[in-house]
Symmetry: C2
Subunit: 164 residues, 2 copies
């Protein structure tokens, strides 16, 4: 019961794309270098985001990944589900119906209380994630990032994108 390692990378990458001018494309090579991450595996995460329709891809020179929608239209839940899957965390196998005391299926009308309780908690979790969008995350990031780093990052991207 834990999130995959790449989730953090994917969200930070999206946040970075949201912070740059709209329409900016960043290749996985630059993203990986910026965060000091393994390029190939980060690309796999971006691929998942692409399949989920969160980012768009451009191949060839000057290509890369860019947000497919305005950052306000991308929720945290969508990113989490893109990386970790959108399946229910709890899978009820209805063991109450099994064993020597089980009775015919038609006698069970609704999911058992255990499943309902766990699913309710999951719903609360999803709801909380759905309240936050990428624009919010970007705002928080801008506010809490040290000014020194913002200046450094801006300069770094200018050099990298111009020099290419």
């Amino acid at each position: 019961m834990k999130h995959s390692e790449g989730l953090e990378w994917a969200i930070h990458s999206c946040s970075l794309l949201a912070a740059l001018p709209p329409g900016t494309c960043l290749p996985s090579k630059l993203l990986a270098e910026f965060f000091d991450l393994p390029e190939a595996y980060l690309a796999k995460q971006m691929q998942k985001l692409s399949q989920a329709g969160i980012v768009e891809t451009r191949r060839g020179p000057r290509g890369g990944y860019g947000l497919a929608r305005p950052s306000a239209d991308i929720t945290l839940l969508q990113m989490v589900e893109a990386i970790d899957g959108d399946a229910q965390h709890f899978r009820c196998t209805e063991i109450r119906r099994c064993g020597p005391t089980g009775v015919a299926n038609r006698h069970y009308t609704r999911p058992c209380g255990i499943a309902r309780s766990l699913w309710k908690a999951e719903a609360a979790w999803r709801e909380e994630l759905n309240k936050v969008n990428l624009a919010d995350i970007n705002r928080m990031g801008q506010a809490e990032t040290p000014p020194e780093q913002i200046a450094k990052a801006l300069k770094w991207f200018q050099e990298k994108l111009a020099g290419a």
Copy 2:
């Protein structure tokens, strides 16, 4: 990002113990037969519950597992954490500090907004699980279980416990 298979078994087992007279001890063999589950692996789940202090064990003949506390004092969250662990689902590795644009650690005061948002959702999930206790689950179970099964189960346990 999913719960382990044994979580369902563990909770159902606890619910069953809560439904029987207080102080009842059930060995893993009976539990496994009742739910039609592999005995050895179910025992492993019960072991986790025991280590978490949710159930008590008695070895030897007439031994087994029994609730360590009144069912109203055992929350769903405690059972889930006993089986799946109580670690945070999201582990922030602070990649924002890495890479060529990172600055000295002292400039970062609080966790980044991404981690805070994910942790907040986790907190909502835990809170929801903490609202439900084993007595609630037992009540729901009593209400939704077909009367035929309740009668069958009662008879089954009487025979098994008496015949032993």
